[in-house]
Amino acid sequence: MIGLDVVIQALLSGLFMGSVYALIAIGFTLVFGVTDIVNFAHGHLVMAAMFVTYFLFKSAHLDPYLSLVIVLPLFFGIGALLYVVVIQRIVDAPHSAHMMVTLGLLLVFENLANLFFGGDLRGITTTYTTSSYIIGPVSVPLARLAAAVVSLLAVGALSVFLGRTSLGKAIRASANNREGAALVGVNVPRVYLVSFSLGTMAAALAGAVIVPFSLVSPFVGHEFILKAFVIAVLGGLGSVGGALAGGLLIGFVEALSSLYISASLGNAIVFAILIAVLLYRPWGIFGQAKV
């Protein structure tokens, strides 16, 4: 029998990682919702941001949270560059081309990282990497708590941006109906560019805040993209609120399945859920069917 304190501990870690997953998935789902492009390279953008943050810490002793000042604008720019150089040219191509081209980008990132940094796992030790609050029988790891808080704040900021600002409204309008949005004067190409850059920036933020307690290698992106897929589908592709709920759900499922079943079956369970959802509720657990 597994004690209650262990379960609470697992739920807590599920909540923390789930919040970060949600942020990654929201970047992914925003890009899909607006541009209709499934970005296979999204997880590798997280990886790239992890490497940048890692080297800023190693070479300039810049704390990962301070380095956000550099990382966020940098990756907004990288997103814009990727959009202009590559993505823009395939927006109107079939889905198979979207998948292959973004897979190509994934391979470019992975091999670039492997070429320059090698395949080893690297990590950093900040002053707070191992600190934690002890509350009763449960210990709350500070670095993970901070990552979760920042991720949730970012999700909130993104929702406010999409809901309240005129650019945000233009983004939602373009996601809803591209021709209609263009007709009422929305600059759709610019909206696409901004959405892709924002999605990239969300991935970068998630990557930066997990560096204090995660190891990075050129291959960590796969895990993130698989999670982003599942979460985005659970929440209904294109839905920001759904992705938040889906992220937390997957965080809990992952933590509990590694506790009760087996860590190596965790992914299989997550994907079995994905298949079931795609068969029965392709619009997502939390989404609504389009009529």
Partner: protein, 315 residues
């Protein structure tokens, strides 16, 4: 037509003569290229002709590898027969998967994700299944036993791989000219229109996946016999799937020769580079992968039909 047949025969004859002049290193590179061509062509049946962009073909590849290996180790069945058993199992799994998925009208990007998920589930199960040695995998012993699909030299493997590719090209050409193949194309181009003109699209898509799955499994068995090692990490991961897609999309999806062209370019060159005595082999291999990835993106943007369409006039 006769001219093309003659050209094909000359090409096969030339390929069959290669072991007379090539060393073991070159042969290994060629076997890898032929193997990649074969799985690309097998995936192409579903993805290229019928437009069913599966991301889970590693599932069928792994079933082939595990089926022939386990039948050999547990029942003493020769892998020559085991590979047909593996194909039958993979075909059945493919049909069942397709029946379920198409029953619920899953298509496009969602179809891709479901199949990707199916392969991930299979990997998780194999990792936790002690009977197939879990994540450790199964080692086969190297020996000279032609009746049991084991050879000490590269030449026999080369001829088997070559025969598989030639057979797969013939299957693709026959399919292109068959009624079933026409149904596949109709489904790919416009499913609603195909349905309206009397094509049973549910049946056509299911056959496409089942056929493609069974054909893919043969390659899994070949992999097991050639590398003498099967593990979830080598057969159920995205790696085989990536090989299939790269070759097919770069060469030309929905053609009988495009996937071969693309695969030989990607896998063959990569393997050749790995075996050449460069100073920094690791960097060369990674660098070549990087170049391929960039090439892939450029080709897909500027030549969506693949390299095979280079010489063709635009309609």
């Amino acid at each position: 037509m006769h001219g093309r047949l003659a050209l094909g025969l000359v090409a096969v004859g030339a390929a069959a003569a290669v072991p007379l002049v090539a060393g073991q290193h070159i042969l290994t590179a060629l076997i890898v290229a032929l193997h990649a061509s074969y799985i690309a062509l097998a995936w192409n049946v579903a993805a290229g002709y019928a437009g069913q962009f599966s991301l889970g073909h590693s599932l069928f590849y792994g079933i082939g590898a595990y089926a022939s290996t386990m039948l050999y180790l547990k029942l003493g069945l020769t892998p020559w027969a085991g590979m047909f058993a593996g194909a039958a199992i993979a075909g059945a799994v493919g049909v069942l998967l397709a029946l379920g998925v198409y029953r619920y009208n899953v298509r496009g990007i969602f179809f891709a994700l479901v199949t990707l998920g199916a392969a991930e589930v299979a990997k998780g199960l194999a990792d936790n299944w002690d009977w197939v040695k879990g994540p450790v995998g199964i080692l086969l012993t190297m020996k000279a036993a032609p009746a049991e699909f084991f050879f000490l030299r590269r030449e026999p493997y080369y001829y088997v791989a070559l025969a598989m590719v030639v057979a797969m090209i013939v299957i693709s050409l026959v399919l292109e000219r068959s009624r079933l193949g026409q149904h596949f194309l109709a489904v790919r181009e416009d499913e609603a229109a195909a349905e309206a003109s009397g094509v049973d699209t549910y049946r056509a898509k299911t056959i496409a996946i089942g056929l493609s799955a069974a054909l893919t499994a043969f390659a899994g068995s070949f992999y097991a016999q050639f590398y003498l090692y099967v593990s979830p990490e080598t057969v159920f991961t995205f790696e085989p799937q990536l090989t299939m897609m790269l070759g097919t999309m770069v060469g030309g999806a929905g053609t009988a020769l495009g996937p071969v062209l693309g695969s030989v370019l990607f896998s063959g060159l990569g393997e050749a580079l790995r075996n050449l005595p460069f100073e920094n082999t690791r960097q060369v291999v990674i660098g070549s992968k990087l170049v391929y990835a960039i090439l892939l993106i450029v080709i897909l943007i500027y030549l969506p039909g693949g390299l095979i369409t280079l010489g063709r006039r635009k309609p």
